[in-house]
Symmetry: C2
Subunit: 239 residues, 2 copies
Amino acid sequence: MTPVVILVNPQMGENIGAVARAMANFGLTELRLVAPRDGWPNPNANNVAAHAVSILEAAKIYPDFRSALEGIHCAYATTGRPRDMEKRVITPAEAMDEVVKNDASGAACALVFGPERTGMTNEDIVLCDTIVNIPTAPEYRSLNIAQSSVVMFYEWFKAATENVDVARDLPSPAPKQEWLGLFDQLESYLDGAEFFRVADKKPVMWQNIQNFLLRGKWSDQEIRTLRGVLRSIWERRRG
Amino acid sequence: MTPVVILVNPQMGENIGAVARAMANFGLTELRLVAPRDGWPNPNANNVAAHAVSILEAAKIYPDFRSALEGIHCAYATTGRPRDMEKRVITPAEAMDEVVKNDASGAACALVFGPERTGMTNEDIVLCDTIVNIPTAPEYRSLNIAQSSVVMFYEWFKAATENVDVARDLPSPAPKQEWLGLFDQLESYLDGAEFFRVADKKPVMWQNIQNFLLRGKWSDQEIRTLRGVLRSIWERRRG
């Protein structure tokens, strides 16, 4: 399986088309769009996509990033390093070696790109496992999405066409929906328990919690177990 | 020194701007344009270049590819593999490792891109030492210049920022002007000698000759020696 490409709130149709074209060049096929600004379909995207229009026609639309993570196990966000967040940051080459290995072990990966001007929100970044940082000149860091997607897909193609000797002892990480279920369950418990005493501080605190949990890279079974643990603790408290 | 970027007969100003932007992202500064189709300066280029307008303003314009090779020792052409020509073809990563090593030994390198639709002519390709082929999906090979320049500059930046342990025994290859002088001298001798008996066959034969000569990677001194050898042979023949 090839990685899924997710564009979060893409703005210009031309950029969506450029991403689709680069996908075709490097053998990627599945595109997901989260709430594209100018609606969908978008003729500006088709104009730029050249022979990759079939990728646009097959693109799936989602209302938010959470739902776009359907069936995904590992999400890699190409974005600047967010402040105030502990998150693993690696290079495109490192990321794509992992993606190829994850794929071989049955874990579906997503390559995630944020909106052109503002980048991804912290709320969305927190749901990704890893941030991918493309090395650039310090004086002029900003790559546009047409450029950064080419780099990412090119590195994926290189990694996928090398002979990768896969040896994995770890279980495949759980699909993102399992993680979201865990997070929703935990958040409702924490809210119910008035864990976040100062409402202003909740967003950052809750981000940090999700981040360190995600770093566990748990399998389905491990998340189910953890959810059972939490539930039992919660129900004991109410009882 | 960072490699020089040469665009041969670029067509759309937007593409020149996109190349300049990618140059700035990856720390390249010197741009040479060979007879841009729409003249120069070109406001469409500035619109796309974003903060890289200074690169466009400093760009040098040349009437043909030969003159644009001024001061260059090694030229790498990003283009499809030409038919009917024996030329070394390597990947971007391999090329950029070489470029960094060449630079450390004092040889100025050029990254060359052809016109958007037609690609480089064989006459221009033959003056390049090496063809760089970006690996792509077999079903859809064609990258546009905005895409291929990002890949090339990204790989250069990666190679240049790694610790490269340079160990070179070979002398630095001669500047391209030395090669052109050699070729001109040799061609005039061959024409004078009616070497190319069938005029139709001259272009391909002459290409092949230049190609196998270039593979020698001679230094200034070696080319001067060879030119002296040829001259002495030629003058002996006339005498």
